[in-house]
Symmetry: C2
Subunit: 142 residues, 2 copies
DNA sequence: TCCAATTATGGACTGAGTCAATAATTGGTT
DNA sequence: AACCAATTATTGACTCAGTCCATAATTGGA
């Protein structure tokens, strides 16, 4: 199954199995995240409003937070940017442009997390290696 | 030379060679960053105030920003945390605790940046691979 | 159908950081 | 040594992203 294209009922089931209730707001927020990956909270809020008509800013934040905590979506926060959300929850990385703040996905060569091993774990129980490649995107290189 | 223990005159010289003026505020901010690595802006502000007596919050932010831009210090921003600053500017990584927000340095096995190569660079000119290992620190494992 | 628990709404509020106008410093020049 | 243009510091208002909280509405199991 293509994890990056969850159907409505898949999302519904995922919410339930995480012990969350299924609401129109949550489904719509998930759809918005799916439609525009790497979008920020207020962009998602706008998208959902075009869809549902009305939703409170708080409901969007709640949905994004609980769905992130339950692994339905993933939150990314590159330095200097507000939080962004994506529906891809497999282990992949990101490529960020220092100039235009654009962000794109990069597949992880290894697959399952953590894909890198630290030289020494200093006693930490490491579960994820978050990698962000920083550079200049093709458009900004002119 | 141990890059992690710049003397006052080294800092002074580094500021000059970056085209920046040498001021008491900047030297004090650098000292504060050196003294408590991974500190946040307001902590640095406090430390500098114990040192100089008075400094404006804005002067602290200015010093931190310009020194970061000129490579004298490094800014790190783990998700969910305000910006932190460190005087180590060599290529190393970080280990963050999901519970207590503690952050420690991890040496990079490779050395010079970028220490990782992306599977595909998508036309980006990559200059850095930022790696944050996420896990639970020894103290929080109880 | 009912009801307890969960979720949404609306509005005030916080924290981190920036903006912009004015005052003070710095460091090269005569 | 004094001057002066450019840089830097101060002050206070302001923005942006996000949280808190009390109340109202919805959900889904009994």
């Amino acid at each position: 199954m293509d994890k990056s294209h969850q159907s409505q009922s898949d999302v519904s089931a995922a919410l339930k199995s995480a012990g969350m209730q299924v609401t129109a707001q949550r489904l719509a927020v998930y759809r918005a995240v799916q439609t525009s990956p790497h979008a920020m909270a207020d962009e998602i809020c706008q998208t959902v409003r075009e869809d549902l008509g009305v939703i409170s800013r708080q409901a969007v934040y709640d949905a994004l937070n609980t769905m992130s905590e339950n692994g339905l979506i993933r939150r990314i926060q590159p330095a200097g940017s507000p939080a962004r959300y994506e529906h891809r929850v497999d282990n992949h990385h990101h490529l960020a442009c220092r100039k235009c703040e654009s962000l794109i996905d990069i597949d992880c060569a290894v697959g399952e997390a953590p894909c890198l091993t630290a030289k020494s774990d200093h006693g930490y129980l490491i579960d994820e290696a978050e990698v962000i490649y920083w550079g200049i995107c093709p458009a900004c290189q002119q």
